[in-house]
């Protein structure tokens, strides 16, 4: 076989190849050649061939057939061979191949070699590619080398031990005895590797951490010597002596001082010294300061030191080097919760960073800004953040908008400012706003009564110019639908009074519906709004009706269904239209939604329609959540009451039960979907409900009379601790009406009073709303509640009661059974 070509000639050949195909052919030819030579067991040139193979491997070609050759090289007595062999082992083998186990013997031999460089090679390889098995086999050898007198070997052994411990933490104990003495060395390499070794031991095992705590004075002394020692050319980097060692020591001090006031105490001086004496003109100095700041923040340092640390970070923020600014922002973000006051001082610098050219710096500055917002600075901060929102990358806009919303909600100095700000957010962030912001805003608007007119006018102005921004259009459509009548009222005080006619408003909504820019959700909002306007704008009714009927044949199922139902509402159920389309009542489900957005800024069912398929007015999804919660709590009650099951032992959710009950009796059965969905409406303030119901039905008594007139005697079912509950009865065939009266003769009032009851399976129980939830003391008032029981089978009536209330700050839960119903009640 001719002499194999030299490595550099091969490299030259490969680089000379013009195309990828050329290169591939050169490589393949050489690989084939190399494979043949390997088979021929040629010792002389094996080294050269493996080197070539390694180069080929780096280019990305497979080279696994060289693995065994590496082993042969390692076993060779020549240093050159070993060098390439070990390099090959480190590059071609990894823990998962079986071949590497075969090296273990060679490694063991080489670790006992006379030449320190061979020992070094072996340790280096072991520190690179050891598997758990290899670690166990060779840990003893490494430990022996750790005690060698040769600094070169010692430092490599220390790092090798470090690697082994990370792989197999159990082996830590072997190395602990030898480690302590390492810190007394003068050699910086040994010192450094010793510190690294001790650090990993302390990180992995709290016991070892305790064991090494006594090293703190030693470490402090070493660090001090480093700083004070003056110029040492060997270890100097830009005027700082051995910054690498300083950083490692600082890191170990951090771990030793965490949660330990005594240790932290002893470090205070040296940390202050390092913080004040280090040169900050070059990156090295800043690297040390950075590590110092991290250490100060983590240990139990005194407050002066912490302020010093935050000030260092503040100075970093002003540094021209972007890397330093990045590092400062990162660290501030991590520590701002602990030292908010100190960080506030640097707020203006952080706000400046919002305009930094580097995107990761901008993002960190944004997050930091959100954490720093408080009631004092909310106005200025929001202004800056709005400017940021405008220019930032699309990937940040949703998060920024959602966070701005929650921040505005928490710290808004006034309702009007809040609304204005939210409008600006919507217009600036455009389509990037997540739908949780939309729904939150929609819940927010009804809560500020005085601003309805203002908001509806603003929103109308906004969308009459531009309907491309979906979230804005959605909020605007909803608001116009709800408060469209306010839009028509002239507003003399405003600087620019908006004169708008019904037709214009309907035009806008129609445009939204028809436009290609609007997505389906927006169109759904629009059609709902239009429908609501049919009652608010009396003149536009025929127009709305015609628009709605057009959409009855729309391609999208959802839209079509709504249009058809609304059309039906115009037709047969016209009498109900006014009631159904009444103003939405205030709901406190806002709490659920805003807490969700605060925590993860993810929308609750993003593109999913917030409104149920068949319910025009209410937002059923949040209500459904509540409904589910209710159902869960009612099933809980059933469990507690020990299986006396009843179809509807309702926990006191007053208005809903009212509605369910009354509408159940009243509505025609075709729109059977209507009552149930109306029943899922969120709790409504009593007033509007009564209006609605009054217009629809003969009024039903909602508040129970104190006593039912009847010849059935009343019974006391519960009397304890001043609380007395009486039942009075009225019988009407199978139906029994019980009125309960709860009295409080104690000297303190009973709040959050809740009465629950369960009856046997054969009965049907319905609970009406109680008159209130607080029983005033000293029998000055009472709570009344009505229950209806159906007893078709005329069985013996039994009942279990559960009473919850808070009395004098103490939560009281009572349970009892009622077995003493008069026979005339159930027979």
């Amino acid at each position: 076989m001719p002499t194999p070509i030299r490595l550099r000639d091969l490299i030259r050949q490969i680089r000379a190849a013009r195309t990828a195909a050329d290169e591939r052919s050169v490589v393949q030819k050489e690989c084939a050649y190399i494979r043949t030579t390997f088979r021929e067991e040629d010792n002389t040139f094996r080294c050269r061939n493996v080197a070539k193979l390694l180069y080929i491997h780096m280019l990305g070609y497979p080279a696994h057939f060289g693995q065994l050759e590496c082993l042969k090289l390692i076993a060779s007595p020549r240093f050159t061979d070993k060098r390439i062999g070990y390099l090959g082992a480190m590059l071609l083998l990894d823990e998962r191949t079986d071949v590497h186990l075969l090296i273990t013997n060679s490694l063991k031999n080489d670790m006992n070699h006379q030449t320190q460089f061979v020992v070094g090679l072996a340790l280096c390889t072991l520190g690179s590619i050891c598997s758990p098995e290899m670690s166990r086999d060779l840990a003893g050898e490494v430990e022996k080398l750790l005690k060698s007198s040769n600094a070169y070997i010692k430092k490599k052994a220390a790092l090798c031990a470090f690697h082994i411990i990370r792989k197999v933490p159990d082996l830590m104990e072997i190395f602990i005895p030898a480690t302590r003495s390492l810190l007394t060395e003068k050699n910086h390499g040994v010192l450094m590797t010793a510190v690294v070794l001790i650090t990993i031991m302390c990180e992995l095992s709290p016991d070892t951490l305790a064991h090494f705590k006594k090293l703190v004075p030693n470490l402090v002394r070493i660090l001090k010597n480093l700083i004070m020692a003056g110029y040492s050319p060997e270890h100097d980097v830009s005027g700082v002596s051995d910054p690498f060692l300083q950083v490692k020591i600082l890191r170990l001090l951090r771990i030793l001082g965490k949660n330990d006031s005594e240790a932290s105490e002893s470090m205070n001086d040296i940390l202050a010294q390092v913080a004040t004496n280090t040169e900050t003109s070059k990156n090295v100095g800043n690297a040390i300061l950075y590590e110092t700041v991290l250490t100060i923040m983590d240990i139990k340092s005194e407050s002066g030191l912490r302020v010093l640390a935050v000030n260092i970070l503040g100075r970093f923020l002003l540094n021209t080097d972007k890397n330093i600014r990045y590092v400062a922002l990162n660290t501030l973000l991590r520590t701002v919760h602990a030292d908010t006051q100190a960080v506030q001082r640097h707020r203006s610098t952080i706000v400046e960073c919002l305009k930094d050219p580097d995107v990761s710096i901008r993002r960190r500055a944004m997050e930091l800004c959100f954490v720093l917002i408080n009631t004092n600075n909310v106005r200025t901060m929001m202004k800056e953040l709005l400017a940021f929102l405008e220019k930032t990358d699309p990937e940040f806009k949703p998060i920024c908008a959602s966070k701005m919303f929650s921040a505005a909600e928490r710290y808004a100095p006034g309702r009007k400012w809040h609304m204005d700000t939210m409008m600006k957010v919507l217009t600036t962030a455009g389509n990037y706003v997540q739908s949780d912001v939309v729904s939150n805003l929609v819940h927010l608007i009804p809560s500020s009564n005085e601003l309805h007119a203002y908001m509806v006018k603003q929103l109308f102005r906004a969308i009459s110019e531009d309907i491309s921004q979906q979230p804005l259009v959605q909020v605007a459509a909803w608001t116009i639908g709800e408060y469209g009548d306010l839009l028509l009222q002239p507003d003399a005080e405003a600087d620019d009074p908006l004169k708008v006619s019904e037709d214009e408003v309907v035009n806008v909504l129609e445009r939204v519906l028809a436009s290609n820019l609007s997505d389906i959700v927006t169109k759904e909002y629009a059609i709902n709004a239009l429908m609501k306007l049919s009652t608010r704008f009396p003149n536009s009714e025929p127009r709305v009706k015609s628009v709605v009927s057009i959409y009855g044949s729309h391609v999208n199922m959802e839209l079509q269904q709504r249009a058809v139902e609304y059309h039906a509402l115009f037709g047969r159920y016209d009498t109900m239209r006014a009631g159904v389309l009444e103003r939405m009542p205030l709901c406190d489900i806002k709490k659920n939604m805003s807490s969700a957005s605060l925590h993860n800024g993810v929308s609750n069912g993003s593109d999913e329609d917030l409104m149920p398929d068949d319910m025009p007015v209410s937002k059923a999804k949040p209500a459904q959540q509540q409904q589910q919660q209710q159902e869960q709590s009612s099933s809980g009650l059933l469990d507690i009451l020990g299986g006396l099951s009843a179809p509807a032992p309702q926990p006191s959710r007053p208005p809903e039960n009212n509605l369910l009950d009354l509408l159940d009796l009243g509505l025609p059965t075709d729109t059977s979907t209507m009552p149930t969905s109306l029943g899922t409406q969120p709790p409504i303030a009593p007033a509007p409900v009564n209006n609605v119901l009054d217009s629809l039905f003969t009024s039903q008594p909602i508040i129970a009379p104190a006593l039912l007139k009847s010849d059935i005697p009343l019974i006391t079912v519960f009397e304890k601790n001043g609380l007395k509950v009486d039942f009075s009865f009225e019988r009407n065939g199978d139906q029994l009406t019980i009125s309960l009266a709860a009295n409080n003769s104690s000297s303190q009032s009973m709040d959050n009073f809740m009465f629950q009851a369960a009856v046997p399976k054969t009965f049907q129980l319905q609970m009406m709303s109680p008159s209130g939830s607080t029983i005033p003391p000293n029998s000055s008032g009472q709570i009344t509640q009505i229950m209806r029981i159906n007893n078709p089978t005329k069985q013996l009536l039994r009942m279990r009661l559960r009473l919850n209330y808070s009395h004098g700050g103490v939560e009281i839960n009572e349970q009892s059974e009622v077995n003493n119903f008069p026979t005339s009640v159930w027979q």
Binding site: L54, T80, F117, G127, E234, L245, N323, Y326
Partner: protein, 156 residues
Amino acid sequence: MQFMLLFSRQGKLRLQKWYVAKQDKDKKKIVRELTTMILTRKPKMCSFLEWRDLKIVYKRYASLYFCCAIEDTDNELITLEIIHRYVELLDKYFGSVCELDIIFNFEKAYFMLDELLLAGEMQETSKKNVLKAIAAQDLLQEAEDVQSALEATGLA
């Protein structure tokens, strides 16, 4: 440190040192991903980025990118110094190093790295000591080569 990569402006890998065990195809994927990510960054951007759960520290020297992946708890600024130290060592060794030196003498670049870092941590903070060790090992090699040359021609 979990790994160090050196690659050219065209995305060609010049050196890869892994301090964690990974499968070959994973390594390839990571190299590809990081090279593209770093090559698309503009010169004004900062030297650190977040990738998976690691921090990537990179610095460009002439036509070569030196890229290190460190853990979340490591100090980025000192890693920049480590990279700089490595470049200084190569510079001293090759005498004003350029990319070609690293291409044609890749095994020497590896040897130098192995004298500076072990298991991802720095083992020697003195430039002098590192260069001394490399020089001594090179001498050993040369002595062996001379010996074998002499043996081959029958003079030893």
